[in-house]
Symmetry: C3
Subunit: 143 residues, 3 copies
């Protein structure tokens, strides 16, 4: 992973065999990022995505060991239990142009993934939502 | 819906049964947002998407009553007839990882939808495009 | 193509028969944009997408001559060989709501494509990656 910061934005390049979003946590910790928004494109050679079953309150995981284009990585950064947490969803393209996607558990990059992370001033927290048991954005103002 | 503003960004959390993008219009009106760009991820329990038939100049709507991951919500905010208007497209993930998507008419959130709305200074307007009858971005400079 | 700049953001509207991302290069050159991040939604009447075959180190192209919704255009701007280069991936929606996508070679707009390009201060360069032969983000700091 290589990165550079310009203004409020980290331009990040993942390389062969690096794991997203885990690898990103190092940057977030080192740079003390406590809120942000990100998008990315690139490709993965293996991925684990998940679908949240709201009735059973659990994620159903699916692993795909196949070279896939990352058509859209969309996510955000918040703080959960004093650590940065990346929540990201991914849309993936197969060799024949068809797509699949879900909540991103992990992806192994090949050959590159380009992530643009915009830092948001301040701190956004997550806390467990008692209804579903998920670490949800803990925003104080309800409208 | 809960939200907080940090810098130029609204971090917004939709909760069970809230309707997107309608619910967002309240925030936009209350906060006088006249231009912006947004991305989001989360999940919906029901959605109506549309495909624009350019020959017939009309949208074909499709309703899907199924729990779906929001893989990518991408959209923008402009002013149309003196009211804020959200134009958004959505990519959705099914239980089996396959995807569908279209122009977002409405979606009913379950259990959460996380939207990051970046406010753009100034005002962007929409006006009806005479060729297609759609409220299109009304930008003065043609290049 | 019409566009306006507000703050760090170009709001861009492509119109019938304009080609993306080629047409965007004129704006980037005229406005001396050397780094940026973009998202877009709209529709195309024809598109060429590509999938990178990592073993053969070459792109497999696929052309689709069909009216398609642009569900998510995600990309970035960097400088390669002293010229601006747009790297973008696209997720597309068909009439029946199913999707396809890949690396965007070119798309012909119909009736509109709305692109929000956020300029990043500074300059981001690309250079050929010797392993894959792709113009990759040339970021100095490895972590």
């Amino acid at each position: 992973m290589r990165y550079v910061r310009h203004g409020d934005t980290y331009v990040i390049r993942f390389e062969d065999d690096e794991v997203v979003p885990d690898r990103l946590l190092e940057l977030l910790a080192a740079e003390s990022v406590t809120a942000g928004s990100l998008t990315g494109i690139g490709a993965l050679r293996s991925v684990r995505i998940a679908y949240f079953d709201t009735d059973r309150r659990e994620y159903l995981d699916m692993q795909v060991d196949e070279q896939l284009e990352v058509l859209a990585l969309v996510g955000n950064v918040a703080v959960y239990q004093d650590q940065p947490l990346v929540h990201a969803h991914v849309t993936l393209g197969r060799r024949d142009g068809t797509t699949l996607g879900g909540h991103l558990r992990w992806g192994i990059v090949r050959p590159t993934l380009e992530v643009y992370l915009r830092v948001i001033p301040g701190r956004v927290e997550r806390a467990i939502d008692p209804e579903y048991g998920l670490p949800s954005l803990d925003l104080k103002d309800r409208r």
